[in-house]
Symmetry: C2
Subunit: 517 residues, 2 copies
């Protein structure tokens, strides 16, 4: 930490109201972090029968947290402190805490308790139905529950308030201050550029040999390899863990000191675990990078879902699938799987890790086609919330868009509109943050090259230490002290600009597939 | 579950005040269970740096729990319900809940918040000092902190109230309704009988060959062996886990569905892990045996510390170190360590597991000498609390008693008065529950033989299934519904009687060491 950064991240100690406010924020932070830890336990360690009591236990803790978050005293203190912290003698951290507490207080007090409960019941029912409907390829049974959720989400949006579309209110829950006015042209640009690049890749007739990625890879060795890679990336195992779970994620008991990630192992395809480690490692580095002063305040962690995803994508894709990265780290693979990597080198590995191949399933998508999966979901959920699309038309619209953007047709709804958990949980407005992550990642990647003109040579020679140092200082340390747009400006000099991503994929995949510029 | 048992364990659904009371108890139960889970995480999975935030997070949750436990509405409801639940239409579970809530409410409201805080600070300081003083053999540095704690514990006793000695108030926290009037003659009897038996064992000149217990035992195989044994004992891994920790314990997120235990592995001595598994397994079976109706009420789990310890001792010692048990299970050892157990059979194993050998360290003690370690601590802590013993005299009194009861002299305080964590944490009155556990175990063991005249033959032929079924039905299912004395009467037909233990050790170790009756 530089001295300057430390100073802006120090909380004021001399203001009685601020101190009271700070202590209330700490209590809220503690309860939120404990819920995070319980979520980790549930997915990683909890014995199956505990399911019978964990739900009500979580509900009890959530009710206590909600009681704390909506305490009228917080409203009073916010009214006193909002003008006050704008003046001299208050730090960026002070102002960030007031900003984020206001945001959370408003969101938590605007939605009536009865509606919160109705949504909780409806999502539990919808999720239960979806879990059955997906393997059974039975969209019809899920449709009424989804329709109910869409209706409830419109009510949530009405209570939260919005300008323009009700979708804006939902989007703002995941990506603060983002609106369709900003997002629509950005995603249109990404869609058109991606569809064009994909067409040119397919017309090139180039095929990439991915045989070095497939075979028999001992699961224990894969886990050791993941840990070795995370250590090289700078993930601190004394402030975190790596475990296995059916869906990889990053969580834990509170940043920056308790940040736990998971991977999923496929014994026949090592990138499933290894690139999940790089992806979750990116999330983990962001969380572990928060200044220690932000621990037990709600300001530790990532500034938005999109910015958080930018770090997983940056470390997994822009860094973790690059030639200089593997020139430096190929020894890890040789040590783990000598049978395979005595035969193959980086010239085989790196193209294989970057193969572009349109597919039906979002979570298996490559770097180019991934955003098309997202944009399809975004266009559909926007239509649902705005009332332009009826739930019953969803499967056919889904399939039409997959055909039009990706050139593939889902043979079943299991591999189509039923594949993702998000809508069954009422998470409308969440999907775009994945693509925002890709766009922010490209913009930050561009900034890294500006900051380090010898980026490729250093990465090949030294590994990623200089990248992590830079990101910690310019981005990670300040956690949620600044709003997303301000983070983007501080890190990259401008707000979100999709041109960096368009340049990035055109340059990277143009070279890989031998396309003319 | 028999139908009769199910009925007495059903809570009333028709009484508005009782329902409100029940819901408050559930909230208290949930928060307590979450604290249990966090304690498990801290000792088993938590990354070391998380220590920096876990303390305050726990304090936040404990404060919320305390707020709930001392809510004036609970006092009002208790006053209404205490007479009411004595009448018809209320179950044993209803009465048990009212009894236990009254007990907890009184304990939590009697001690002033300022004293609770003072004790928390003093124990944190004392524990920190003890942790340094123990390896440094420096009792003098620990003494002032211990003196402070003794003084505070007398204040705690004054607030809790007592008849006779203030020690009674502290003892009651761990073993409800137990007093020195009952306990002193019991422990005197155990001490005298044990000292006499130990003298006769030593005079016999018999030596037991323990070489089958020592060697090189692969840790991974030891863990598999522990899991196999637990499974045979009837521990449910779908409602529990087994992990490693530096001190074995049983905890988790709430009985009967989330009961997690740990073992500690010594690669040169397999009983360290295996007998810890049997011991913690006993605790675990008691917890998992609570009737499902008691989940999320504070009534799941063990009826007292002593009764809880009785089950760990019963399964570890009376069952787990017996000849018929190992005649049935020797195959587990042969599978795990064929090199050793192709040479040794049960005739070598069982005597080796039961060797009597006076030692300095409580946690390494055998079944005969263990209670002498406890009685020494009990006599000393009683004297400290009553004011008959000064802290400065503790090391020399400790050493005198070890010499007199066990015939060994601690060469250092590290191996003497500083060895246990308990006093540094303010746990005065806790030690006797270990011996109460041994006594209850012998009494229950006697009852099992009465219930099953062919006990030895069945155990050798079938394993422990019939024992667990009997214990579940007669003891485990009712959890904390009944007070300790009532549990003892229901299970064994009488309250605690030390004669069963005296008979048990005289018979068992008399035979082992060839003593005349």
């Amino acid at each position: 930490m530089t001295t300057a950064a430390s100073k802006v991240l120090t909380f004021t100690q001399t203001d009685a109201e601020f101190t009271e406010f700070f202590e209330r924020a700490q209590e809220i932070s503690d309860l939120g972090n404990l819920l995070g830890l319980l979520g980790w336990d549930q997915q990683v360690k909890m014995p199956p029968q505990a399911n019978q009591v964990r739900g009500p236990q979580l509900a009890t803790l959530q009710a206590l947290l909600h009681e704390r978050q909506t305490h009228p005293r917080i409203g009073e203190l916010l009214n006193v402190l909002e003008p006050r912290v704008q003046g001299d003698g208050y730090s960026d951290a002070d102002r960030g805490l007031v900003r984020l507490m206001r945001r959370n207080y408003d969101q938590n007090t605007k939605i009536p308790a009865a509606l919160v409960k109705e949504v909780a019941v409806a999502t539990a029912e919808a999720w239960g139905t979806w879990e059955q409907a997906k393997p059974a390829n039975d969209f019809a049974s899920f449709a009424p529950y989804l329709r109910k959720l869409v209706k409830l989400m419109r009510q949530v949006a009405d209570h939260l308030g919005y300008q323009g579309s009700p979708y804006n209110a939902l989007l703002d829950q995941y990506e603060p201050d983002m609106t369709l006015d900003t997002l629509n042209p950005i995603l249109d640009r990404v869609r058109d550029a991606t569809v064009d690049l994909l067409r040119r890749i397919q017309e090139s007739g180039q095929k990439i040999d991915t045989s070095c990625l497939h075979g028999n890879f001992d699961p224990a060795r894969q886990l050791d390899l993941c840990k070795a890679l995370l250590q090289k990336m700078g993930y601190h195992f004394d402030a975190g863990r790596m475990d296995q779970s059916s869906h990889p994620f990053t969580g834990g008991g509170g940043s920056p000191f308790d940040v736990r990630l998971t991977v999923r192992v496929d014994p026949t395809y090592f990138p499933a675990a290894l690139m999940a480690a790089a992806h979750e490692g990116g999330h983990g580095l962001y969380e572990q990078g928060s200044d220690p002063a932000l621990a037990r305040t709600i300001l530790a962690g990532g500034a938005s879902m999109g910015l958080h995803e930018s770090e997983s994508r940056l470390w997994e894709n822009a860094i973790g699938r690059s030639l200089p990265f593997w020139k430096h780290h190929i020894g890890l693979l040789r040590d783990a799987f000598p049978e395979t990597f005595s035969r193959y080198g980086v010239e085989a590995l790196v193209p294989a890790l970057n193969e572009v191949k349109p597919s039906l399933i979002r979570v298996e998508a490559d770097e180019v086609t991934y955003n098309l999966h997202i944009i399809i979901r975004f266009e559909l959920e926007q239509g649902l919330i705005n009332g332009d699309i009826d739930v019953d038309d969803l499967p056919s619209l889904w399939n039409q868009k997959y055909e039009s953007y990706l050139g593939v047709t889902p043979p079943t709804d299991t591999q189509g509109v039923l594949q993702d958990i998000h809508w069954s949980g009422g998470s409308f407005g969440y999907f775009p943050t994945y693509t925002l992550g890709n766009l922010y990642a490209a913009q930050i990647y561009h900034t890294l090259h500006r900051a380090f003109p010898d980026y490729d040579q250093r990465l090949e020679a030294e590994g990623t230490g200089f990248i992590l140092d830079w990101l910690r200082e310019h981005m990670y340390a300040s956690g949620q002290v600044y709003a997303p747009d301000e983070v983007a400006r501080k890190v990259t000099g401008e707000t979100l600009n999709p041109e960096y991503f368009v340049q990035y994929i055109n340059a990277k995949f143009g070279a890989l597939y031998g396309l003319s510029a």
